[in-house]
C-alpha cells in the first residue's frame, strides 16, 4: 500500500480535502466542463467502478443576487430576483411577493390570487419538463430529452400569453400580478392543459415503464425516510422517501387551501421514485390549473396601487412556498428604508445537494447521472 500525497496547492482549494490515498484510487473531476455535470464540479474518487468519495463543489455561477437586492427598492428587485432559476421564475418570486405584502400590509385582490396560482403551476410544469428532459439525456434516452422540451412549449406559450415573456416573466409584483390575462385565455389554457396532460401520460409508455430504466434506477441511491429528514432535504426528494410534506398543504398560501388537490408520496426513496414524483406533480398541476380556472372570479382588479418607493417597517418576515424543487423561502429584513436591509434566499437545490455525497458514496460510477439529477438540483439556483 504505497501512499500518494497530492500536491500542496490543490489542498488549499475549498472543497478539495484530499488526504493520502493509495494507488488504486483515481480522482475524477466531473465538471465544470463535462456533459454530465451542470454548472458545478463533482470531485469523485473511484476505486475501479465504485465511487469511494464524492465531493460536490458548487459556486461556479455565483452572482451575488442577495447582495444586489440590498441596493434596489422593493419594486426594482423583482426582475433580478427571478434570475437564479429562470425556468421557475414565478415560484422564486412568490415568497418575495408574499413577504413584501406582509411587510407593507397589502391586501391582494381575489382574482390576482388565482392568477398567481395558475402562473405558479404553469411554471412548475415548465421547470419540471426541462428537468425531465435533462434526466432523460443523462440516462442516454434522447427521445425523453426531445419530448419534454417540445411539450414545454405549450406551457411557455400560455405564460407568454399571460405575461408577455417566454421565460423571465417578472409577473408577480407585491400586491398582485403585473397585468390581467387576455380575453380568451381561459379557453386556450384549458385546451392546452388538457393536451399537455394527454402527452404526459404518454411518457409512461416510453420512459417510466421502460424495463431498462427500471432496472437501472430501482434500488440505486436509496435515501431512507430518517436520512431524508436528518439531511434536511425537501420537495420531491423528501416526498419520494415517504415523507408527506408539501408547503401547499402544510402552510397554504394564497388560495391553495380552497383548491382540491393531493400530494404525491412514494415510499421507495430510490432514484426511480425521485424521478417519478415530479412527473406525478405535473399531472397534479394540471388538475390544480383546471380547478383554479373554474373557481377564479371572472373579473376584478389584479393589483393594488403602490407608492413609487414603498417603505417597510422595522421588522423582518420569512415566507416560503413549494417550488418545482421543494420549499423555497425568503427572509426579508427591513429597516424602514425603501431598500431591504437584507434578503436571504433559502433555496431547495442547495438543501438537496447535501444528500449527494451521502447517496453516491459506495455507488457505481454508472449511477452518477441518475442519482445526481434525481436530486432535483439546479446549480444556478444553489449558487444564487
Amino acid at each position: 500500500m504505497s501512499g500518494q500525497v497530492y500536491p500542496k496547492d490543490t489542498q488549499t482549494l475549498p472543497g478539495l480535502q484530499l488526504e493520502k490515498v493509495d494507488d488504486r484510487i483515481m480522482t475524477l473531476n466531473v465538471g465544470p466542463q463535462h456533459p454530465g455535470s451542470g454548472h458545478m464540479r463533482i470531485i469523485l474518487k473511484v476505486d475501479g467502478d465504485y465511487i469511494v468519495h464524492c465531493d460536490p463543489d458548487p459556486g461556479y455561477v455565483h452572482r451575488g443576487e442577495e447582495k444586489m437586492a440590498e441596493y434596489r427598492n422593493y419594486i426594482t428587485n423583482i426582475p433580478h430576483l427571478e434570475r437564479p432559476v429562470i425556468h421557475d421564475s414565478c415560484n422564486i418570486l412568490y415568497p418575495y411577493c408574499l413577504g413584501v405584502e406582509e411587510l407593507l400590509g397589502l391586501e391582494v385582490p381575489e382574482r390576482a390570487k388565482y392568477l398567481r396560482v395558475i402562473a405558479a403551476e404553469l411554471n412548475r410544469c415548465v421547470y419540471t419538463e426541462y428537468w425531465l428532459g435533462i434526466y432523460g439525456i443523462f440516462l442516454g434516452h434522447s427521445t425523453m430529452f426531445m419530448w419534454p422540451v417540445g411539450d414545454r412549449e405549450l406551457m411557455i406559450d400560455l405564460l407568454d400569453k399571460m405575461t408577455g415573456a417566454r421565460v423571465t416573466h417578472a409577473y408577480f409584483v407585491p400586491g398582485g400580478v403585473r397585468n390581467d390575462v387576455p380575453a380568451n385565455f381561459e379557453d386556450v389554457c384549458l385546451r392546452q392543459v388538457n393536451y399537455f396532460e394527454k402527452r404526459l401520460k404518454e411518457y409512461a409508455d416510453v420512459f417510466y415503464d421502460n424495463p431498462i430504466l427500471i432496472s437501472r434506477t430501482k434500488d440505486t441511491g436509496v435515501l431512507s425516510r430518517e436520512d431524508a429528514i436528518k439531511l434536511g432535504t425537501t420537495g420531491s426528494v423528501l416526498r419520494a422517501s415517504g415523507v408527506d410534506f408539501d408547503i401547499r398543504k402544510k402552510e397554504p398560501y394564497d388560495v391553495y387551501e380552497e383548491l382540491d388537490f393531493q400530494t404525491n408520496v412514494l415510499k421507495e426513496g430510490d432514484s426511480y421514485a425521485r424521478s417519478k414524483i415530479p412527473w406525478l406533480d405535473m399531472l397534479e398541476s394540471c388538475n390544480i390549473i383546471r380547478n383554479a380556472l373554474k373557481k377564479m372570479p371572472k373579473s376584478g382588479s389584479v393589483r393594488v396601487k403602490l407608492k413609487p418607493k414603498p417603505k417597510g417597517g422595522d421588522t423582518e418576515v420569512y415566507r416560503r412556498v413549494e417550488s418545482g424543487r421543494g420549499a423555497l423561502g425568503m427572509h426579508i429584513v427591513s429597516d424602514g428604508k425603501p431598500q431591504p436591509y437584507r434578503i436571504k434566499i433559502n433555496v431547495p437545490s442547495f438543501r438537496n445537494l447535501i444528500a449527494m455525497p451521502h447517496l453516491l458514496t459506495g455507488e457505481k460510477l454508472g449511477n452518477l447521472p441518475p442519482v445526481y439529477w434525481s436530486l432535483n438540483y439546479w446549480p444556478v439556483e444553489a449558487d444564487r
Binding site: M26, L28, H34, P35, G36, D49, G136, I137, F138, L139, G140, H141, S142, T143, M144, F145, M146, W147, G150, E153, D157, V206, F207, N210, I212, L213, S215, R216, K364, L365, G366, N367, L368, P369
Partner: protein, 435 residues
Amino acid sequence: MSVIAPKFRLGYLIKGLTDNIFWIIVILTLVGLPVVQIVLIYIDFPIIDGEIWNPFRVLDAMTHPERALPLVKSFMQTDFFKVAAFPGFGFAALIAAATIFVERKLLAKLQLRVGPFYCGKVEGILQLMADGLKLISKEIIIPAKADKPLFWAAPVLFAATAGAFVALIPVAPGWVVADIDLGLLAVFAVIGFFPIITIVSAWSANSKFPFIGGIRALYQMVSFEIPLILSLLGIVMLTGTLNLVEIVESQASFPWIIFMPIGAIVFFICILAELERIPFDLPEAESEIVAGWLTEFSGMMYGLVQLGSYLKLYAFAALFVVLFLGGWNGPWFYPMEPIAEVITDGVVLMPGALTLEIEGGLLFSQEMINGLIWFVLKTVGVILVILIPRGVFPRIRIDLLLQIGWYKLIMLAFVNIFIALALVYSGIIGPGGIL
C-alpha cells in the same frame, strides 16, 4: 409560439433540385471548360492513319457504345474494382452514409422534430457532406502526453479493420471480395481485432475518461464475443461449412432463422453490443465519461472512427442477412431470361492503334441483379431494426450488461446449439438430412 420548419412542398423540392443543377452547370462551365482548354494547349495531338486525333475524336471513339461498354465491363471484372467499388469499400461506404442520414431523419420523426432540413435544400440531403467537410477542415489536436504513433494509428486501424470485415461479405452470386473457405472464422478473427484497437486508442490518449471508456469497451466486446460465436455454431453444424457463400447457397429453400430463432435473437443482441449502440453504448456514455474512448479524437480522426463504426454496422447487418435471412436468395422479380454476354475478343480502343485484350466473362446476369436487390432490401431492413432502439431505450449499466452477456445470452446460445444438434442427429436437416 416556437418556430416550426415549413412543411414539405413539391414546389420547394423542384426549386431545390433546379437550384442544385444550375450551380453544377455554372461551376462546370466556368471552371471545367477553361481547365480543359488550358490542358489542351500543352498536349500534342497524335497522328494515326494520317488523321489528327484531337480530343473530340478520342472522346467520340471512347464513348462509342461498341467500345465503351466492353471497356467498363472489363474494368468491372478486375480485383481492384471489387475491392474499391462494388462489393467492397465504395458500396459499403455508400450504405453507411445513407445509414447516417436515415438514422438522423428517422430519429427526428420519432422525437417529433424535423432533423437535418436546410442543407442541400431538399430535406437536408447534403447535411452529411457538410459534416464531412467540417470534420476535414477541423484542426487535429493531440494530447501533449499521448503516445503519438499509437494515437495516430488507432482511427486508421479501426476504419481499415471495418473495411476488412466488409470484404468478407458475399453480396450476390459470384460477387464477394474474399471468397475463402474459412470465411466465418475470418469474420471472428476480424471482430477480435476491435477490442485491441479500442484499448490501444484509449491507452495511448493518456487521459482518464478515454481510459475508463476503453476498459468498458474491452469488457463489453470480449464478453459479448463469446455468445456471438456460440450463437453461430448451430449454423455451422447444420451446413457443415464455414464458407459464407456456401452458407447462403444452403438457404435456397428456407432461411435458417426459421429453425434457429433463438440463435438469431442472441446474435442480434450481440450485434448491438459489439456496435456500441444504445442501449449498450456504455463505452461512449456521454453523461458519465464525456465521450468514452473517443473523447480525445478530433477532426478527421473522429470522422474516421465514425466511418469505421458505420462500416461495421453495415457489415454486421449484412452478416445477419447472410447467416440467418438467406442472403441473396428470394423470389424472382421477373421471368428469368439468361443473358449470355461473353466478351471474347479484344476491344478496339482506337482503330488501328490500340486494342485492349481482355478475358471473357459473364457480368450482369439477372441472377446477380435479382440477388443484389434482395440482399440490399434485407440489409436495409436489419439496419433499420438496429437503429430504432436508439429512440426507445435508455443506456444500461455495466454490471447489468455483463450479467446479460454472461448469464442469459450464453445460456440461450447453448440452447440454440442443442436445437441444432437435435436437428442434425434426428436426420431432418444437415449433411445427409431429409430437407
